[in-house]
């Protein structure tokens, strides 16, 4: 059935709207008053009145010309469309309502409405997305439950799916949508009436719940951390609520939360992590026998425990500008705990003073390399020769430290690489470059290092994102002064910067900056002793010393495996899910040299906390190495892990950890919100029904939607005739003024 209507409205055509129009009117009023005062000079009253009249007329015409009032006529039609039933199938609908559940009540209503309608409606369920369901599937035990309630998203998705055929939506829900950005008035733009039926009322549930858990994602080992827990209870609950923090079965803390007048309380539980790595913590409140939703009495969160600061050992063979700038950079970084050793005096130096007049201390090799080596995240040898300090015995330890996960960097100089006697030592095995033994292995020539084409996206040298800009940035740095010569790269190592003219014995450009791995550790070789020229010298030329800091910051983060610089990344959309929730994860897969691993097929597996695979899904990765995967998380509350492997098998590329909670965000505050449903109905021109019993037959519901057929704009003061009238009135006033002796 179609019905044509004519709707009209008024508007001002002047840019700036009402404010501009008001300013114009004020200005013209001033003109009229000024004219009236001027006309007082004329003695004859009729002449005065005539001029005043003409001034008012011309000002009025000017006002209408400028403000441009317009009338809009809309030719619209009312179209009868189909009705869509939209049932909330989120987990908050599982809350008990009398002898039944909210969901069963809603399903019953939907079945009755469907069966009783002459024209059969469309049927959908929703949570975070909409799903079309058949009459046969309309059963509370056949609907897939969702972990979120997103009413606005569902309504817009339904309108988009059904287009102009849709006449009205009947929303059946408890209204428990806690989306922070959701505002019912915004639904006015839907263009479709939404009739809402409330399942559940505002009467307090007998439910004590953990409404929110707030903890940092990262905490530091043996440093105090805390978690804030907001609990909620009905007004009848007078006693304080005991909140308990656990890791596994160990109780870490307990506190009594005093409820405020709004029935909520926030408790802070301090604790001190004692183990590195990721772990699941949980908070819980006691469950009373009559608690309506026991599942929301416990919540979990993941915590990544790291060292508070990176521990770096910098050993310098002699004081030099290169050592000074690197030390200043490391020392200036508050996230680094730096231990430095400079060799200030050698056997051949004569300091001309007895030991007590010197501030020199012995180089504590045994203490550093035997007792404390494992406590460092990174060891840097800068122009350091191990021979004179009886260090040969400690080199195997450094090798093992790197293989077991430590990081090592060797920087150039006359005491480094082959010139430092490292050929054939355990250090040579872990370095990313092959060392030149004997012979001349230093070159004193000045050069600007060149970025290796295949390495331009490697995070260590990626000063700016675009490859061409990155190459230009590296070309603009001050030249380095000489380099250690090496034979080439170790197997699987990667050159990032190379010498522009020198070649290694394999014919490849001589590596200047190379990275690699040894066992579980990472290593870096920089064959120059003049990286300080990226700072002061480059700054003298370009006015910017940041290349040095950006380079070393990224090098350091890559060496200590900053997760943000991992070549392969698997990221889930949330950290905590409810049972059976939908998980979406994004993948960015690159090989250890940061080259995309796509296009290709990979496999994402969901593992339980014992490492048993519960699900496996294939995922298509594009040429940039990017892809997305979606799966349903298990129902059992626990910690789980996602891992990604090549389809053909092979080592794990990346992993992500998440938690499934029995309650989760969806049940954190499961109270019904009929007021929200009423607002939705009012905003869209629909009707609100406070209970299923109030809802009439679908055939009696208003299901016409308004469609605009055409719009006519009527602007009578925008015509040439009206402008001519203005000119005539204005001209008449001017002519009269001259005639009556005014200028």
């Amino acid at each position: 059935m179609r019905e044509h209507l004519l709707a009209s409205s008024f508007r001002l055509g002047v840019p700036g709207g009402n404010v501009a129009a008001a300013l114009v009117l004020v200005a013209l009023l001033v003109v009229v008053v000024a004219g009236w005062r001027e006309h007082q000079q004329i003695d004859a009253l009729p002449r005065r009145l005539l001029l005043n009249l003409l001034r008012m007329l011309s000002a009025g015409c000017a006002a209408l010309l400028i403000v441009q009032p317009q009338w809009l006529g809309q030719n619209v039609e009312q179209v009868q469309g189909r009705v869509a039933l939209l049932l909330d199938a989120s987990r908050s609908m599982t809350v008990h309502l009398g002898d039944s559940t909210r969901l069963a009540t809603g399903v019953g209503l939907m079945q009755r409405a469907f069966d009783g309608a002459a024209q059969k409606p469309l049927v959908y369920s929703f949570g975070d997305e909409i799903t079309q369901v058949t009459r046969a599937a309309l059963s509370d035990n056949k609907l897939a439950l969702s972990d979120e309630t997103r009413i606005e998203h569902a309504l817009r998705a339904l309108v988009a799916a059904q287009g102009e055929d849709l006449g009205a939506i009947v929303l059946v829900s408890d209204g428990a949508d806690r989306s922070p950005s959701f505002a019912a008035p915004a639904l006015k733009s839907l263009g479709v009436r939404v009739h809402s039926v409330a399942i559940g009322d505002e009467a307090e549930l007998s439910d004590v719940s953990i409404k929110n858990v707030s903890a940092d994602q990262v905490a530091f080992l043996r440093q105090p951390a805390q978690v804030q827990v907001t609990v909620r209870a009905p007004a009848s609950h007078a006693a304080p609520i005991r909140v308990t923090l656990r890791k596994g079965t160990d109780v870490l803390g307990e506190v009594a939360a005093e409820l405020g007048p709004d029935g909520t309380a926030t408790a802070t539980l301090p604790f001190t992590p004692t183990q590195l790595g990721r772990a699941v913590y949980s908070v819980s409140v006691p469950t009373d026998p009559d608690d309506a939703v026991p599942a929301n009495n416990e919540r979990s969160f993941l915590l990544r425990v790291t060292r508070e600061r990176l521990r770096v050992l910098l050993v310098c063979g002699q004081p030099s500008w290169d050592a000074r700038f690197l030390r200043a950079f490391l020392k200036g970084n508050p996230a680094i705990d730096l231990i430095t050793f400079f060799i200030l005096r050698t056997q051949s130096d004569n300091s001309m003073a007895p030991p007590e007049e010197l501030s020199l201390i012995p180089f504590p090799t045994q203490e550093l390399f035997e007792q404390h080596l494992q406590s460092f995240d990174l060891v840097i040898f800068q122009d350091f020769e191990f021979g004179p300090y009886q260090m040969a015995v400690y080199l195997p330890r450094i090798h093992d430290y790197v293989v077991s996960g430590g990081s090592f960097a060797m920087l150039g100089g006359e005491h480094s690489f082959g010139a430092g006697g490292y050929v054939g030592t355990p250090i040579a095995e872990i370095l990313p470059v092959r060392l030149a033994g004997g012979g001349r292995n230093l070159d004193e020539g000045e050069f600007v290092p060149r970025v290796v084409d295949q390495a331009t996206h490697h995070p260590v040298i990626e000063l700016v994102p675009r490859p061409e800009d990155n190459r230009a940035a590296w070309q603009s740095v001050a030249p380095l002064l000489g380099t250690n010569l090496v034979l080439g790269l170790q197997q699987d190592a990667q050159a990032l910067l190379v010498h522009p003219t020198l070649n290694s014995d394999s014919g490849e450009p001589m590596p200047v900056l190379a990275v690699g791995s040894a066992g579980r550790g990472r290593t870096l070789a920089f064959t120059s002793d003049a990286s300080y020229r990226f700072s002061i010298t480059t700054a003298g030329r370009l006015g910017d010393a940041s290349v040095y800091e950006r380079f070393w910051d990224r090098a350091l983060r890559w060496l200590v495996r900053d997760p943000l610089l991992d070549p392969a990344q698997l990221t889930s959309d949330r950290e905590r899910y409810g049972p059976g929730a939908k998980l979406r994860a994004s993948l960015w897969l690159r090989d250890p040299h940061y080259r995309p691993l796509g296009p290709g097929l990979f496999r994402v597996a969901l593992l339980d906390d014992h490492g048993k695979a519960l699900q496996e899904v294939p995922v298509e990765i594009d040429a940039e190495g990017r892809g997305e995967v979606s799966l349903t998380v298990p129902s059992a509350a626990a910690a789980y892990k996602l891992v990604v492997h090549p389809e053909a098998g092979g080592a794990e590329l990346a992993q992500e950890v998440f938690v499934v909670e029995s309650g989760g965000d969806e049940l954190a505050d499961p109270r019904a919100r009929p007021a929200l449903l009423r607002e939705i109905a009012e905003a869209t021109g629909g009707s609100f029904y406070a209970s299923p019993a109030e809802m009439p037959s679908l055939d009696r519901l208003e299901c016409a939607r308004t469609r605009v057929l055409s719009v006519a704009v009527h602007a009578p003061f925008g015509t040439g005739w009206f402008f001519a009238l203005f000119v005539a009135v204005f001209g008449a006033e001017w002519w009269m003024r001259r005639r009556f002796g005014l200028r």
Partner: protein, 257 residues
Amino acid sequence: MTPRLLAASLCVTWLLAWLVLGALPTPVRAIGERTKVNLRTLDYAGGNATSRPTAAKRLAWEVRQRTSVETNLEPTRVRLSDASLFDSPFVYMSGTEAFPPFSEAEVQGLKRFVDFGGFVVIDDAAPEESGFDASVRRELGRAFGPGALKHLPSAHVIYRSFYLVLRPVGRVEAPDYLEVIEQGGRVALVYSRHDLGGAFERDNLGNYAFPPSSGQAEQREMAFRLGVNLVLYALCLDYKDDQVHAPFIMRRWAGRP
């Protein structure tokens, strides 16, 4: 062997030796001479900037003899307006007289040099007079603002960056403090009114050019120690403030008079 055969044999032997020895590695002490620590002297208009012409060279020699630092034994000279100012982070400036104001380019050069990590030692070679001192304070005020110069506390790490130095001395003993400008938590400029260069300076015959004010050779040695400490501080910064050094240094301080 005939003389001609002998001569031919000698020539061949010499040629072979030249070829063989020429192919052997030449001992190299650094990747490049230019990465060695260059204690450059500042050139500027007026002020008698060359009054201590060999001071930097003498200090470079002493630093190399006493420490592991590889210094350039022929320090170069540089102006604050030179582009090469930023090639190396150390500048030594001395003078005996008042000097005209720096050009704007020189003031900006000094400020940028310090901002970007450079280290400046200014040495008043005529502390008995006020001309050089007044000019220095005027120029530092232009570059860093009034009041930037501060007295260096006697416990500062500069006094123990290599030697344990009790108080600053040069050719003259007074005053008992150094003045410094700090930048980003480090001392970036040191101003001494002790004529350090005067204590280091030797004449063409190798004799010290100026007697120390006390007449004691120990005063000259203390001046060298301060000079060495300044260079070591420029290179190591507050390394001696690291926690690991504290017990050793405290024990030695405690054992001193």
